[in-house]
């Protein structure tokens, strides 16, 4: 772990410049709760570490009104959990981010880091996908916006190009009667890696679901948007038949691994079970049941 160049720039362009200058050996530091562990294990040997927490845009939570928020990619889980308006507008996104690790980890870990670490079991990502979050990515060619589900492309791999940095997440305004929820299954009660994680964001009007998005984690090489599951809920009163159809859509996209945390059969079954529970919680919060 020697000869690392550390910088903590104040602008995103400087950070992009430092990342490019490191010629592929640069790593972004937000909370460091994945990066430092990887460095200790010898899995990451960065030539440059670019600390992005001095960049205001990456460290701010902006309330844009009507339930729309812009959350800096480097904001800690603890700060997100303390933001009353954000928690009220997006309870599922906040509870998902707050499930990452212990209180100590929450003091540092960020949604940007959780996304870019690109674990299929990243807790915040299914909820952000369900929310329809748009990621602002800044790179050598300026700014682009991309749907959050397009960032992960495989375990530990992202679609970010050389020099690109995830700057922030935009959560859209939602109509009245909307809410969201996230649940994960773990073998313990706290602090473990998801066997399955499921996020649902939906809108209820007069007892009928008018919009729904489902994000599913830990059952494939990346966290996925399950469009068919959302579509199965829309137009229904979230009755048993609609929920089973959505659960079946979740099971259908599962391509999980067998490991000590769960078998393929178990993870696939649980994906459907979680979808039903999460949809019920989101609907309850939306006041629509």
């Amino acid at each position: 772990m020697n000869d690392i160049r550390y910088s903590a720039p104040h602008t995103i362009d400087e950070a992009v410049g430092a990342l490019l200058a490191a010629k592929g050996t640069g790593r972004i530091l937000a909370g460091g709760t994945d990066l430092l562990v990887q460095m200790k294990a010898g899995m990451a040997l960065p030539g440059a570490i670019i600390d992005v927490k001095n960049i205001v845009e990456m460290s701010a939570i902006e309330d844009k009104g009507g339930g729309a928020f812009r959350v800096g990619a480097a904001v800690s889980g603890a700060r997100i959990g303390e933001h009353a308006a954000l928690k009220k507008a997006w309870p599922g996104v906040v509870e998902a981010i707050n499930l990452i690790g212990s209180k100590q980890i929450q003091g540092r870990a960020s949604p940007g880091g959780n996304l870019c670490n690109a674990s299929p079991a990243a807790d915040s990502v299914p909820a952000l996908i369900a929310a329809g979050a748009i990621v602002a990515v800044h790179g050598p060619n300026g700014r682009r916006e991309v749907a959050v589900e397009k960032i992960q492309i495989g375990p530990g791999k992202t679609s970010l190009q050389p020099g690109e940095i995830v700057v922030s997440f935009s959560l859209p305004a939602r109509p009245a009667g909307s809410s969201d929820a996230y649940l994960r299954l773990i073998p313990r009660t706290e602090m473990d890696i998801a066997v399955v994680g499921c996020g649902v964001s939906l809108t209820m009007k007069d007892g009928v679901c008018t919009a729904a998005r489902v994000g599913l984690g830990a059952v494939a090489p990346t966290v996925m948007l399950v469009e068919a599951a959302g579509a199965a809920l829309v137009g229904s009163k979230l009755d048993a038949e609609a929920l089973e159809k959505a659960a079946a859509a979740c099971r259908a996209v599962c391509k999980p691994i067998n490991d000590k945390r769960g078998t393929i059969v178990y993870r696939t079954k649980i994906a459907g079970v979680l979808l039903k529970r999460v949809a019920a919680i989101a609907a309850e919060r939306a006041g629509g049941r």
Binding site: R5, V37, S102, K103
Partner: protein
Amino acid sequence: MAKTHVTTTINGEPTEFLCDASQTMLDVLRDQLGLTGSKEGCGSGDCGACSIMLDDRLICSCLMLAVEAEGKKVETIEGMAHGEQLHPLQKKFVEFAALQCGICTPGFLVASKALLAKNPNPTETEVRFWLAGNLCRCTGYDKIVRAVMEVAAEMRETAR
């Protein structure tokens, strides 16, 4: 490679040190500054024995680079007692025998103090969840949890 000069505040004292970019805050606290109260259990953020406060936020010092301390406020277990006067949590841990080998104790104390600063009236469940990032292989946690609950009650009584 040139070392980085860091200016920070540790337990209220302005502090300067030189470090490599790869050194963790825990390494610098223990090996350079002689503040060995923070312990290294796992070195990967799982055990909480290295818990410190960084700008009033509970974190694992093993997962923080020392260079990140620049301009920040760091608080460690060494700042908890005032001279010979132990913090109420420290006294209660002794009274309740909420420790055996003691390796986890500094982390539990720092984390418990952070909890009570944020939530003076925690339920047992809240205490257990808050302290889930601190591992103890001796006590079975019960005495620790009861000590924290008891101190919370006493501090509320004092504040009335």
